[in-house]
């Protein structure tokens, strides 16, 4: 499935805290096919479960419910009973594992139970090692990876990578948001976007991504676009590869860089109009760290959707026409390539 077809949605709690009906309407208006119904605060649960049968969720391809994260009024059994209504509708339940006191209560949810990794405020269930224990107790349970929690616990994203390797086969959905060291949720930052892009190749394309960034309806579209770029960074990377050859910022080397590449195309008999072949021959550069997955331009190109591919081709042709204008001697020198 092409990367642009990743499915994004929002948690109702991020859109309108305590008002899931309003949030659902906002998310529907945005044309999103994914929603998580938040009952993070326990008082929200009875109202949500009472209304569940009457909620029109038909436009959504994926719906989940976030169980309360802390119980004081309701007993664990009450919560499990209330959530039973969702299981009948085959709606998965996202659970913070520190809520579990009696595992037997939750075992009946089977594969509809999604265990979420926690943030650093907790003393357990933050790392792969700590999560192994809970999955051993719930062998059928699935995994909700909160990338913001994982990043807070380990900003290098090493822990997130380990979780995806260990529990990738259980991965059912992803939570994403901006999260500072005080565990306050915010919009995705540029730094968070970069961090998430480092592990995006490990997240299957069909796993829904739920945004927990608190945003207004007006800012929802912008947040969504930003998240799409974070989890599908391939187009941006290929643009950067094109620029490294055709639009090098170091003016003194620009001409030399373009000429070297055109010589390569000349030797292989490749025309600039043969877009895919040109992209395949672009040198894959840029700094990457030990342990990073090295993606060649061929790998990157394969990850693009048809729309992104067309977008990239337009970008490439624009760069080529600028080169021809800026260095008029090059089309004469490399007639075959520019033909």
């Amino acid at each position: 499935m092409p990367s642009c077809d990743r499915k994004f949605g929002f948690s109702t709690g991020a859109i309108a805290k305590g008002d899931f009906e309003l949030a659902i309407e906002v998310i529907k208006r945005a044309g999103l096919a994914v929603v998580e119904l938040s009952a993070l605060r326990e008082y929200e649960l009875p109202k949500l479960m009472g209304a569940l049968s009457n909620l029109d969720l038909s436009s959504f391809e994926y719906v989940s419910i976030h169980a309360p994260s802390r119980l004081s009024e309701l007993s664990e059994r009450d919560v499990v009973q209330l959530l039973g209504g969702a299981i009948k509708k085959e709606i998965p339940i996202v659970l913070h594992p520190d809520t579990i006191e009696d595992p037997a209560e939750w075992c009946k949810f089977g594969s509809f139970l999604l265990i979420e990794n926690l943030d650093k405020r907790n003393s357990a269930f933050r790392t792969t090692r700590e999560l192994h224990e809970v999955f051993a107790r719930f062998p059928d349970a699935q995994f909700c990876l909160d990338v913001a929690h994982a990043r807070q616990v380990d900003p290098t994203m090493g822990e997130a990578t380990q979780m995806l390797r260990a529990f990738g086969s259980r991965l059912r959905q992803v939570h994403a948001s901006g999260l500072n060291s005080n565990s306050t949720h915010g919009p995705l930052s540029s730094a968070a976007s970069w961090a998430f892009s480092q592990i995006s190749h490990l997240i299957p394309q069909d796993v829904p991504i739920i945004l927990e960034s608190p945003v207004s309806e007006q800012a929802l579209g912008e947040e969504l676009s930003f998240a799409r770029r974070a989890f599908s960074p391939w187009l941006q990377r290929l643009r950067a590869e094109i620029d490294d050859v055709f639009d090098l910022k170091v003016a003194g080397f620009r001409h030399q860089q373009i000429t070297s590449f055109l010589c390569l195309l000349h030797e292989t008999g490749t025309k600039l109009s043969d877009f895919e072949h040109v992209i395949r021959q672009l040198p894959t550069g840029g700094a990457y760290k030990t342990g990073d997955m090295f993606l060649s331009t061929v790998d990157l190109l394969q990850r693009l959707s048809d729309t992104e591919r067309a977008d990239l081709q337009e970008y490439f042709l624009d760069r080529v026409s600028k080169v021809a204008k800026h260095f008029p001697e090059l089309p004469k020198q490399f007639k075959q390539q520019f033909s």
């Binding site: 807070q152 900003p155 290098t156 901006g178 999260l179 500072n180 060291s181 915010g186 919009p187 995705l188 930052s189 540029s190 730094a191 968070a192 970069w194 961090a195 800012a219 912008e222 947040e223 930003f226 910022k249």
Partner: protein, 346 residues
């Protein structure tokens, strides 16, 4: 308001304020991602100097840091590089601009290392500048948190602090403000020695005006806890230390020129004194804003200072500025004089 009251015509100050606002808008467009989203969690891009004082001139340097107040994250370095690259590409800074500014700074040292051998010159300078002349573009939360944490340390760890809101001058903060002013003056001499007098005249000019101005603002902030301290609620539920922190935070959130102007208005200081202070400062800004004059100050060697009409004019203006401050702060009838006498001298 002060300008209207004293019928002053301080066009260079007005122009510098407008230039600073324009510059901040440019930097915001340049550095803040679309949708006003954060560049990174737990970090603010902080600017100091004339931009933060709200008195920018056409040739003002851009002093900036990425201030980090959070757990270690390698992304912070990437954030710093992104900011630096954007500023270089927009020709706002030069590529080789390094030193105190143009890097990353971490809140822990700034807040925890006050005094002692570990409080380096850089640490002291960053701390005081954060309090006295800092602003940020984009998400300001990290800078605000650090400013409040610095104030908290000065207040909570002041040995003279009492539980009552008695309006006593906070000596810890006051002494460090004085230390910073003296450090700036000593550093001027040190740079003169180290850099063989390079940019001597420009640095001297800044010491006479803008550096003195931020010292004055810090002294006024310390005195303000006595002069304008807020009243505690009748039940005394509010902790005096919380009250003091909020007071200093609010007081110092204004640019230094505003702080001085407001104190002159509140103190009912004569138009004559106000004009001495502000008209001389206005002319200083006018000179600094003029590219020819600024260039002369950059190039002027110490031995030719006596022959430079420009530098002699600056000396003259600085004496007027200084005289204005003396007439205001050493008026023996005023309340502020008692504070100057009791705290600033010994």
């Amino acid at each position: 308001m002060l300008q209207q009251k004293v019928n002053g015509e301080w066009k260079s100050i007005d122009k510098a304020i407008a230039t600073a606002e324009d510059k901040l808008s440019v930097l915001t467009r340049l550095l803040v991602p679309p949708g006003n989203r954060p560049i990174a969690e737990d970090a603010s891009v902080v600017f100091f100097g004339s931009l933060a004082r709200g008195e920018c001139t056409s040739k003002s340097d851009l002093d900036w840091i990425v201030l980090i107040d959070g757990q270690v994250d390698e992304q912070h370095y990437r954030t710093f590089q992104t900011v630096r690259k954007s500023l270089i590409e927009a020709q706002e800074i030069r590529p080789g601009n390094t030193g105190l500014f143009g890097g990353m700074a971490f809140s822990h040292d700034i807040v925890h290392r006050i005094g002692g051998e570990d409080d380096t010159n850089r640490n002291l300078t960053l701390r005081m500048l954060l309090l006295l002349e800092s602003t940020s573009v984009g998400d300001d939360a990290a800078r605000k948190r650090v400013v409040r944490a610095i104030l908290r340390r000065y207040l909570a760890d002041d040995p003279s602090w009492t539980r009552k809101s008695d309006g006593k001058i906070r000596r810890f903060l006051f002494n460090d403000s004085v230390r910073f002013w003296r450090t700036m003056a000593v550093d001027f001499a040190d740079k003169f020695h180290d850099q063989a007098g390079e940019k001597w005249a420009l640095r001297n000019t800044k010491l006479r005006f803008s550096r003195k101005l931020i010292f004055l603002a810090s002294v006024l902030a310390c005195f303000s806890w006595h002069l304008h301290r807020p009243k505690q609620d009748s039940g005394e539920r509010e902790q005096p230390i919380d009250l003091a922190q909020a007071h200093f935070d609010d007081y110092l959130s204004r640019p230094p020129l505003d702080i001085v102007a407001d104190e002159l208005l509140l103190g009912g200081i004569s138009d004559h004194i106000c004009n001495k202070i502000f008209a001389s400062y206005n002319e200083f800004l006018s000179i600094i804003d003029d590219s020819v004059s600024r260039e002369e100050l950059v190039e002027l060697p110490r031995e030719l200072a006596e022959k430079s009409k420009l530098f002699q004019r600056i000396r003259e203006l600085s004496h007027i500025f200084h005289q204005g401050l003396l007439e205001w702060l050493f008026n023996t009838e005023s309340e502020i004089f008692k504070l100057v006498r009791d705290y600033a001298l010994l």
